[in-house]
Symmetry: C2
Subunit: 344 residues, 2 copies
Amino acid sequence: MKIAILFGGSSYEHEISIVSSIAMKEVLKNQIIYIFCDQYRDFFEIPHKTITSKLFSSGEYKKCDKLTIGKNGFFKKSMLGQKLLELDVVLNLTHGGDGEDGVFASMFEFFNIPYIGPRVEACSVSSHKFLTKGYASSVDVKTIDYVFYTKGDKIEISTFPVIVKPVRLGSSIGVSIVKSQEELEYACDVAFEFDDAIIIEPFISGVKEYNLAGTKIKDEFHFSIIEEPQKVEFLDFDKKYLDFSRTSKALEADISKELQEKIQDAFKKLYNTLFEGSLIRCDFFVVENEVFINEINSIPGSMANYLFSDFNALLNSLAQNLPSKKPITINYEYVNKIHSCKGK
Amino acid sequence: MKIAILFGGSSYEHEISIVSSIAMKEVLKNQIIYIFCDQYRDFFEIPHKTITSKLFSSGEYKKCDKLTIGKNGFFKKSMLGQKLLELDVVLNLTHGGDGEDGVFASMFEFFNIPYIGPRVEACSVSSHKFLTKGYASSVDVKTIDYVFYTKGDKIEISTFPVIVKPVRLGSSIGVSIVKSQEELEYACDVAFEFDDAIIIEPFISGVKEYNLAGTKIKDEFHFSIIEEPQKVEFLDFDKKYLDFSRTSKALEADISKELQEKIQDAFKKLYNTLFEGSLIRCDFFVVENEVFINEINSIPGSMANYLFSDFNALLNSLAQNLPSKKPITINYEYVNKIHSCKGK
């Protein structure tokens, strides 16, 4: 099975997408085609053998073959016009903008390109923190309390510390922990630099964090181990960045069977039918034995490969069992009915 | 201002989109370009003068100029390669699939095409009934109670009548009112024919319905009159279909100032920042003076023009004040940092 990895994009997480994609070389046994989307949204085919992060930062990638997207796939200019790039499935590895906000998912749907990754609605729900909260409560999964503000709102907080986040970005961009009223205005300004809306949550120190990745194939859930990620006050971008290149196996968290089942149960509720076609990582908080969803990563860093015992087999099985949309046939029954009514 | 109306699409509401778009001829004073997306997702430029619904049902549209979508717009083949179609803004008038599910919105974002219509997240929230419920509760707007099922779930209902709906479609497709246990299985089968998930709500007879359309321009809301739509048990597809061609002014509902403000207030909460760039119609239920959101139409039939006193001026003002995304600059700071750390 030939997998095309699509990465880059017009995204604040463009660079970690590069790191994530290079990590796939080590963990996938497939024939891989790399398709890079640069910040100007031009596509390039990057040779598998020469891919390094420097190729992108130096601008050297522009010498690679340019691609365009169209019906059924990506096209390369050839002597005889355009040639369809041979691939079986696209793995969407564009973190943040373009990848996780539904843009690529929509284009794949429109152009009829099979892909592993979140579908449009799953993108909206997971990339917008405010919608994540609403969705989670609908499927009966707890979330941390929050308040939601848009630009120009009067922001009033009575209890500190709090955590201030732009509603849309991932990887801790624009996020601040605020310990007092004095720091609040600046933190909100920073968050509003990145988005038109922010959420503010109480910052709970000493909270336990657990990450679980998984997917659903033929109505069966396949879970990774549960990991307790390395604890820092909160993950800053540099730390997260290095995390995206992980390929060595993680350690399983030492938790009770009961808590493990609670976490898996919350994952199932969140995954629902909405995330079919994707392999996601859910980051949970546990407070007094209660499970709260913190974040749904619809395209986790390096696909959370380090949490699975046989990532390669799992991803290939997912690739062979992607959801398909029912074709819609338009027969103009109603238009014809109107014409016959009108007698014209 | 030259407005391109994009309509059709791979959608169960393809035909009503045609009717809706033709109605625009009567209400917009702009120069209009018609761009038709057929069921195979090929684009055609339809001459303004000859547009009739019969052109599409007969297949005659295939003789019109074919277009492709790309950077900054739509392209027409010319002697010298490709020519960019001149337009100032696209009005997305594709009801249902492609238009209201985020596909076109995503493509406009990716290809940098200015458009009037719901953005991706707004599409997800309004086109998926289950997500509408979660979102509404997050912004503190009431919704009718519901239960949510996916294929294969055991469906248990104790009180009738109920209304069974596929989660995704609009225009009453696949919707049934169920009065007894005996009818339930068939109604659910019908709904599952169209979707992998359904919602079931109590059917409240005698409920008052009110529709309000509006938009936000430069942070100011612009509301239509509130209409009490014509009452039938529920609108079937034929009835709705004819509704999409409405261009004559509606009558204002005879309600108290207090109720009017309650309805407008609920609209504001729902519109939020999420629906910026679009003109939407919210359909509310009122039970015992409490306002419930029933449906958010992110691309209402014939743009709900019949509810506004000066639709043409409003739409043109919206076209000139569309939300813009902040450009993202990628400077490869992190990639460079890694290289300097690694010493390579």
